[in-house]
Symmetry: C2
Subunit: 661 residues, 2 copies
Amino acid sequence: MSSDVAKMAPLQAFSERSECNSLGAADNQRDVLVCGWVYRYRDQGGVLFVDLRDRSGVVQVVFDLAIDADLLKRADALRAEDVISVRGKVRLRDKNAINPKLKTGEIEILATGLELLSKAKPSPIPLDEHDDEASEELRLEYRFLDLRRKPMQEALRVRHEFIRSVRNFLDDNGFWEIETPILNKSTPEGARDFLVPSRLNAGEFYALPQSPQIFKQLLMVAGSERYYQIARCFRDEDLRRDRQPEFTQIDIELSFVDKEMIMRLNQKMIAHACKAAFGIEIDPEPQRITYRDAMELYGNDKPDVRFDMKLVELGDWAPMTEFKVFKGAAETGRLKALCVPGGASLSRKDIDDLTQWVMQDFKAKGLAWVKVTENGLESLITKFLPDAAQKALLERTNAKAGDIIFFAGDRADIVFATLSALRLRLAEKLGMIPDVYKALWVVDFPLFDHDHETNALISVHHPFTAAVPEDARIVLEAAQAETISPEMHKQLLGVRSNAYDFVLNGVEIGGGSIRIHDSKMQQAIFRLLRITDEEAQNRFGFLLKGLEFGAPPHGGIAFGVDRVLMLGLKRFSIRDVMAFPKTQKGTCLMSGAPSSVDDKQLRELYLKSTAQGHGGPKAARAKDGGSGEGHGGPKAARAKDGGSGEGHGGPKAAAEKNKTP
Amino acid sequence: MSSDVAKMAPLQAFSERSECNSLGAADNQRDVLVCGWVYRYRDQGGVLFVDLRDRSGVVQVVFDLAIDADLLKRADALRAEDVISVRGKVRLRDKNAINPKLKTGEIEILATGLELLSKAKPSPIPLDEHDDEASEELRLEYRFLDLRRKPMQEALRVRHEFIRSVRNFLDDNGFWEIETPILNKSTPEGARDFLVPSRLNAGEFYALPQSPQIFKQLLMVAGSERYYQIARCFRDEDLRRDRQPEFTQIDIELSFVDKEMIMRLNQKMIAHACKAAFGIEIDPEPQRITYRDAMELYGNDKPDVRFDMKLVELGDWAPMTEFKVFKGAAETGRLKALCVPGGASLSRKDIDDLTQWVMQDFKAKGLAWVKVTENGLESLITKFLPDAAQKALLERTNAKAGDIIFFAGDRADIVFATLSALRLRLAEKLGMIPDVYKALWVVDFPLFDHDHETNALISVHHPFTAAVPEDARIVLEAAQAETISPEMHKQLLGVRSNAYDFVLNGVEIGGGSIRIHDSKMQQAIFRLLRITDEEAQNRFGFLLKGLEFGAPPHGGIAFGVDRVLMLGLKRFSIRDVMAFPKTQKGTCLMSGAPSSVDDKQLRELYLKSTAQGHGGPKAARAKDGGSGEGHGGPKAARAKDGGSGEGHGGPKAAAEKNKTP
């Protein structure tokens, strides 16, 4: 770049600037000023074409030897990503030069002035919109360049639009956004807290909020009635593809409402915001399904209902067979089947691979199957299936020639996990999933789960979740009992919570519940969860206190913003819908966070590091920026999603929220 | 409370609920359901009047023996703050019972059904709107009750309205809200960082952001062009009345703009949002004043211009006197005066108190004064003032009979601090401050200040602030010089920054600047600030890198939300405009944060606590919830406000941003 460009008198008069994309045929012959980045350029001998890009779009600028030789010379020195401002006259392109793919494709700007605002080094990552070949490590290190790419700009814009639509909807419905603290009290439970040492209170720590759960409930006690917050939440977990140490949720709480009112309001909100941000249609009155049905029909509590292919119950069919494995499973566990339309096309190798997979990832003992042909069933196990059993099987599964039926007979959790995973994988493989958005409410979750380790009850959601009114009596009675009889224990496991999860295309994007607003009921729950009074006081004392001073009936919900964006924008990773994400090791490859700090800083905080050498070299870190963990093992598929909903977590809820029915 | 109330079949059908304040004469004879808190009640023998309060307001409910004796009996058991739902019929009140102060004062609800939703213990703090006698400690401990008080509900509502208006304004002006990380890299500078130990990266720490400064600049590099964020910021400082460890700022950054565009946009935004939220009128084109004029005329860089009373220059008047103190000050420092209209009414004791104050708090050596009477000047120093000097003094100060003139002659910083403080204190005392809102831009701050300790230059704002274009040459030349001559040093101290502070009623509520977008200029600044390349790389490396890859010209601003709310709502403390504030020791009296944590948690973070006994008893803490520190000593008055603007801070900027001209 010749230095005379830099030394030119400034052409900039930014207040006169036109956005690139705003220009069109109507501006023909207008003198304009445009600013932006040199996107592409091509020299046609005496004429230089520069595609100038700003946030709005791209416009073609022409430097012509015949008009201004000196100007062309200076423009010749421009390179990609230089920042320039250009004065010129808009003119219509020749008919054959019109670019219908470009909004400004009918015109170009004949340059009369050029100022170099900022010279750019060559970008280490390709910024062409059709090219995302760069490694994710490099993209994250040069995030300020990566974000220039069209899909990333789009993600930022749409994220803004989505949140904006949510806000407008809630504002219009009488909600107040109220900020709750980021520096909180640590209440060890669920996921791990991020801690913040306090300098003014030696030896003490704040915790970053896993969610504003207790604060929003106290806001209801405070009479705020309709609260929301686009809330930053934090969990110090080992990260996965769709996890980040910090994430954003739409956090909502209302007073004087019932479940029905909350569900109706929120389904409307999501449909509204998804339409506004993504232009997608979601049924404003989504289907509802009970937790029990979700498990029985789809094998999991966040079923993808874009396609049918339900699980089929075979427990009472097993006795018709002569297959011990089936009979045994039906007696001591469960036997269910999945009929895959068109699945007879699967090769032996396909089936072997699937078998390996379910054995390894879901602890299945094998994978029995039969193919349905014009000539009847084909399988290694047909010999165990008498004609009547074969006929009944076809009837129950509705199988037709060309289908395949997979069987899972085992402990209930293994059966559900296996068939649920098979269902999704085969639907994808066989192209059965239509390009639509299907929402679903899952309701009537159990309130408690049985913790096999401690042989005690644990909360499925969090311990502030109310039971459905019909089942509340069981809870109160059990809490008053001296000991919990096995019968009572079983009854408690049947208690339904007044909770609801919002599932979109098989992803749980939101969840909430009616809360306990009665301190006696709250104490009853704690007793059943074997949380001592002292422990309860220490962990939730301020909520318990609040409930004693006039708490209104209330409930709420939380939606994971990042999840919704991933779905709405069809992005593979949560990192592609955030401006500055962390890697799976929780590092920011751009800024270098986290980093070592001065000993003086630690001394002021009354801390000593016990780490060796204060962290490894940065270079070693770049490795962990990769793009996810593949398809996820059984844990991944089963763990209750941390990035959406209100997984504030009961004692073990975050890790074990998947319950066996 | 008789238990039969609790056991009644639920009357609640929340979807039918009317908000209290929505009811009026038009609803006469309508059957309604209202829910809320028992606010006040009075028994008139056979008739019980209950004022029912919800978020919207208050409505009177009548339980009448003649209508339903059993119902009355149950209602009799109600106490203040019980949560109830009431069914009843709206009826017009008797003419003489109409309460014109109440929006629902024309009607009452004749109860036909009552359900106790939640029984309340007696509130430890009075919740009547006219009573805020409770200590702040108690209010903070029972924040969930304190927030029920009308002024607090009002604060939450108006805060929401203010932020909403700001958002709408920015959304309509093409801004995208983009979330920047809370888990950041520590860059030790300005205020102290809050640290967050990383579990996945042994010995390393995140820092909570003091502001999103670097990220918003990198978003400009990324081509986002118009960014904003209602951003939570964190500073681990010793707290004062208007400081909180976490606070909220409106954070804005734009590309391809000049100072003028930013100022115009933001003054419009503030006027718009203040009108919408507070109903107050702020001049959408506020007056502008240079830093130099602000100091000379008002003695500080955030003058309260609701009243006049400017400082008067007396440097060239001193030689007319025979007073050594004045003459000496004029020669080696500054001599200025403040004429206080009507101030002759101050008693000798008043003046003695003021003298003590300025000597103690501002290091003044004394406080000379003359009273202006019908008979001329009255003072101990008139003997040193020949007639010509007296005449000249009256002319310059425009003093009239009944006024008092105070003198300050000393080092410049002492003169300014003394007269500035006197001006404010006397204006208040003498009732000179009108009940209006006056905004002001302060511009042309110096870019550098001289650090007496290190004898070096420091940034007045932060090191990313650009100089005004006219002065940029001085910076570049000085940076290239082998050594900085005294002459050059003086020139550098005269360089004006391209920065602007927004001041409302004497409070700095916002501040920003045009940034350096040229990496060479940025390096020049670092060189002048004696920041080595290595240090710059370590602290701001990722910004410097960003500037090399095509950074657009950009600038921005940040406003302190809490400050604006304090002003707009006329609240004394920042704690009165936040839902859940911390005390001056950084504790939350409601939740008990911060608190000690398990050793296991620390071990996982590779940390050991060096604190004795892990923090004192909670009881000792409640002491520090008090309401501020009185009028503030010189430090308090001078330190650049941490709660607004972009005090990201140069090396020492946060502590020393008050510059001597």
